[in-house]
């Protein structure tokens, strides 16, 4: 039987406010344990939370950028559960009256643009971090993350494949980054998601029983968890069994998910209105102010890149999705570099380095001006493309500009005909066999000898000059 996969996602994004959601402790990542804590965020009795206005601003901005209705009235609720990372034994969240509802984001699919519904976006606090020492019979808790503001974005079950889920996550990430409410750094846990998956026989209207997968910490893991869950559920149905509604924990190193706890008990959160926090009223003026402050969204940027810079849709999509890459792109183009050439560098060599070093594009230490300089050095013949690829890692590792790097390392291209001729003569005298091949009419020998000359010059010889001079030298030997 053929099955259809139905996927819904719950995305948690840490907001990049200066302070936590209910107290004035600094909101940042890393640092020593329990250094950004106070009576409010470690839940001491009698401590009173006061809502950070910027959290509401950011939540509304997120909602507006995803075409949501913003609630004119909403409130915060206590979600009760007992776990050591939650010192109050409840999380302040929003239950029945979230800040934003009924939105959508658009994703590119093979069948064109598809709207994915956003059920709701609400604000809530993050929990502390549990540390497990190897072999110890206890755990340690660091509450620096406790009280860090989050928005939870819940999608409708509109996604039908791991690829669509990935596109949705990319769209969420690029939008949140573009509007400046979250840095979305996956490796710092700023963006996390829970994955809800069910399967149903193709053509069936009712949804199948779904499972929820937690602990999904990268987009790659989300796609893997979805594939695993789809296959697991289909196998159960094919064997005549029934899928249990349960919460599972994704283990990305094992590539499997495991049952965590039964849904009924885990979801008995006994929500009730948070009596320590007053309700939130958002009027039109507040909303419109924020709407007017929104920058260009990635989807709009993509369109502009295609129309104004004549970039292929593919390039425009990748660049506009990344705040870091699109910033570099526009800076470099502003310096006069050719758009397509800049795009090739950003999506080629630079993305390769980012992938290898797990660095985010926003953390690239040089600006678009340096990139434009590198490109103009290639175009003016000062360095070859091959050498440029050696200069680039140096730009990541030092704060020197490309010109300085080329000068200091003596990487400038050799275009001097005399100097190149000297190298050619050296190479020819050491490669008699190839020279004889050429004399015997095998033109292929030229390719080999060109490579040898390039190698002897450590990649610095101008390829055009080599071509001309090598043939000249060989002809003279005939």
């Amino acid at each position: 039987m053929k099955y259809e996969t139905v996927i819904g996602l719950e995305v948690h994004a840490e907001l990049s406010t200066k302070t936590k959601i209910y107290c004035s402790c600094e909101n940042s990542f890393g640092g020593d344990t329990n250094t950004r804590c106070c009576p409010v965020c470690i839940g001491l009795p009698g401590a009173l939370p006061v809502l950070n206005k910027t959290v509401v601003d950011y939540g509304i901005k997120a909602g507006l950028s995803m075409h949501c209705d913003i609630a004119s009235y909403c409130k915060q609720d206590r979600k009760n559960y007992f776990y050591p990372d939650l010192p109050k034994a409840y999380q302040i969240s929003q239950f029945d009256l979230p800040l934003c509802e009924h939105g959508f984001v658009e994703i590119d699919t093979d069948e064109g643009m598809k709207k994915i519904g956003i059920t709701r976006i609400h604000i809530e606090e993050d929990a502390g971090k549990l540390l497990h020492a190897e072999g110890a019979n206890f755990s340690l808790v660091d509450y620096n993350r406790g009280g860090v503001p989050l928005i939870e974005i819940v999608s409708e079950p509109d996604l039908r494949s791991p690829e669509e889920a990935l596109a949705f996550l990319e769209a969420i990430k690029s939008t949140l980054q573009a509007i400046g409410v979250s840095d979305c750094k996956m490796q710092e846990g700023s963006l996390r998601c829970d994955v809800n998956v069910s399967v149903r026989p193709e053509g069936q209207k009712e949804f199948g029983v779904r499972s929820e997968c937690k602990n999904v910490n990268s987009f790659h893991a989300a796609a893997r968890a979805i594939r695993y869950e789809r296959d697991r559920q289909i196998a159960i149905l094919e064997a005549g069994g029934t899928v249990e509604q349960e919460t599972r924990r994704w283990d990305d190193t094992k590539g499997e998910s495991f049952v965590m706890r039964t849904k009924e008990e885990a979801h008995d959160y006994r929500y009730f209105p948070e009596p320590d926090l007053m309700p939130i009223f958002v009027d039109e003026a507040w909303k419109e102010n924020l709407r007017n402050s929104l920058p260009e969204l990635p989807s709009e940027k993509k369109k502009r890149y295609v129309e104004n810079y004549d970039l292929p849709k593919y390039d425009a999509g990748l660049l506009s999705a990344s705040l870091g890459l699109s910033k570099l792109f526009e800076e470099a183009v502003g310096e006069g570099a050719k758009p397509k050439t800049v795009s090739n560098w950003l999506l080629g060599e630079i993305s390769k380095i980012l992938n290898e070093t797990l660095m985010e594009a926003e953390d690239i230490p040089f600006g678009g001006k340096a990139l434009a300089e590198l490109i103009s050095m290639i175009e003016s013949g000062t360095i070859s493309g091959t050498i440029a690829k050696q200069v680039l890692p140096e730009m990541f590792n030092s704060d020197k500009n490309p010109k300085q790097i080329v000068e200091e390392k003596g990487l400038a291209q050799i275009s001097d005909e005399g100097a190149i001729m000297e190298i050619i003569h050296g190479v020819l005298s050491q490669n008699e066999a190839a020279v004889n091949d050429f004399k015997a009419g095998k033109d292929k020998a030229i390719g080999f000898l060109t490579g040898q000359v390039m190698r002897a010059s450590k990649g610095k010889a101008n390829p055009g000059v080599i071509q001309a001079k090598l043939r000249e030298a060989l002809e003279a030997l005939k």
Partner: protein, 94 residues
Amino acid sequence: MAITMKEIEHLAKLSRLALSNEEKERLTGEMQSILAFADKLSSLETEADPTMFAADGKNVFRKDEVKPSLSPSEILQNAPQADMECFVVPKTVE
């Protein structure tokens, strides 16, 4: 609504409390009388909307400005057990 022993056991489990049988029985009775007390409200004739907040007020906000936190030693001074500038809790690996 009547509170049964089963409800008490469920709540105890959610709260990670180990209760003896005598405690469960006592709490069943106590919870029942608390609920009965609160039930008196239902006998009132009202036309008002449900009250979600005891106090009046709206939009009470704080500016997004960092203020000093406490030091780890102050934060940990009431911890039953601390180690490596962290709270020590029972092992919690799922």
